[in-house]
Symmetry: C2
Subunit: 319 residues, 2 copies
Amino acid sequence: MRTLGVDIGATTIKLAVVSDAGVIEAESAIPTPKGSARELVHVLAERVREIRSAYPEIARMGVGVPGAMNRDRSLVRYPPNLVGWKEEPLKAYLAEALPEFERIEVDNDAKVAALAEARFGAGKGVSHFLLVTLGTGVGGCVWSTEGEFSGIYRGASGGAGEFGHTSIDLNGPPCNCGSRGCIEAYVGLHYLAERTKKKLDADPSIVSTLRAAQGELKPRLIADAMDAGDAFARSVFEEAGTLLGRALANVANLLDTHVFILGGGVAEAGPVLFDSALGTLRANVLANIKPHVEVRKAALGNHAGVIGAAMLVDDRSPG
Amino acid sequence: MRTLGVDIGATTIKLAVVSDAGVIEAESAIPTPKGSARELVHVLAERVREIRSAYPEIARMGVGVPGAMNRDRSLVRYPPNLVGWKEEPLKAYLAEALPEFERIEVDNDAKVAALAEARFGAGKGVSHFLLVTLGTGVGGCVWSTEGEFSGIYRGASGGAGEFGHTSIDLNGPPCNCGSRGCIEAYVGLHYLAERTKKKLDADPSIVSTLRAAQGELKPRLIADAMDAGDAFARSVFEEAGTLLGRALANVANLLDTHVFILGGGVAEAGPVLFDSALGTLRANVLANIKPHVEVRKAALGNHAGVIGAAMLVDDRSPG
């Protein structure tokens, strides 16, 4: 059987025909339409119908979306990177626009990535892990195996996993959530870029090729400078890893989680980030957990979204 | 059916005959024997046999102990308040000393209290809660309902729930676990007493009856001063609540937990602590959780240990 996996991002919507074995048989992408949820669904449905003309047997579709879901995953709630969206019944809109589909499921993008990593990636065979998506926002998914249950930890109203909004410093930098010291306020893409720029501005003695950079200091740019030998650029990721490790340590102690899987743009910084994160994590967890902690890179990269979205329709965690 | 519930504390062992309805039919206590785990079991077994001579039908016993357990709960690991204990096979020792019992189970004291609160106390009917025990240490238990599972969240190796060792300040005061800024390093009994004393010493202008206190500034002492109108004493609990609220907010965001149940000695401070904790919690959680968060007082007080211990043998969460 084949399933359609859809990964709605802030700038691009990716679509893929995915086999039950998690293999991508065809892929496609469209720019994310700006405007209402209904307008997005309208444009998306056109592309879906095109794909279905080549794969007429496909009757199941899973969709990942960058926003919090309600308990039964019928509503996407105020996704910060889909401007103008409020509480949107995305599943119902899709069902209305694509009646030829027997089953459509929608879930948060980090949850969808966790499903893919659990089944085919860095979380395969792991009973408990935290998946962290390091992007504009810092998303997360707590994967748990407790008793008869194994899957995405949902919490009391379906919103669990907001690792990005766990704080490591009660007096830390303000986060756009209203709290302070959230890990997102340190390593979220814009925060990281801004802090890096401030450091350069504050200390004229720092030698770095990043001074010449135009526009925002995106992780890719900093990583390229680091790879070319820029010591300051390297220190940016060392610090990011160190801070991240403290937030991971809190999760390790609270949930006895040993495996941490990092994905998303900032994770592209590579070993420096991972080594720093692991060092701080290990230094700050309880003695019995210390020997067991691991920080892994997400294995499916950009494809986790579409593969995991496809998994939604045959491996949906209980609501 | 009746069950024997045993609550091993640092200074006292409490024993109770508990009905299936959670009613205590008889209780008893002995001072906690100092020395090895075997020695403790020897003394405990004598008292158990005395109780059993009055209730010969009792064949099940549950035991709560202040220490981390391994995954199958056969070992108690380095309990900080039972001096001289290392990794102790407490369950096997008890089975050996009390062969007349058909079933014996041992679990961490915070987990046992959570079982009791879930069944008969402040957690009754609540799908997800965090129980926090505020004592010498700050213990915790994550109670979860996910899919087919409802019970104590155990984690990868059985050690989940160490809320006391989640940090709210990466540069905060050192904790005896080796990390910094753990909530236990602020509101654990000795830390709280010490910080309070330091404040008094540092500022001679503070007017407080606590200056005249002999020995450690125990929560009961501070609470009594507060109840007698001591504004400084009140500020101690306000600050403790404020700090606690920040640590609770991290759990609320990570796990979408709405209900927080506080028990133990420090919780005796009453409304001031609870109000401060709730205020800070509400101010620091994500918007969708804000209207739902609650901080409740543990309902079973001193009896949660023995009642929950008895529950262990008929409501054991899957290992």
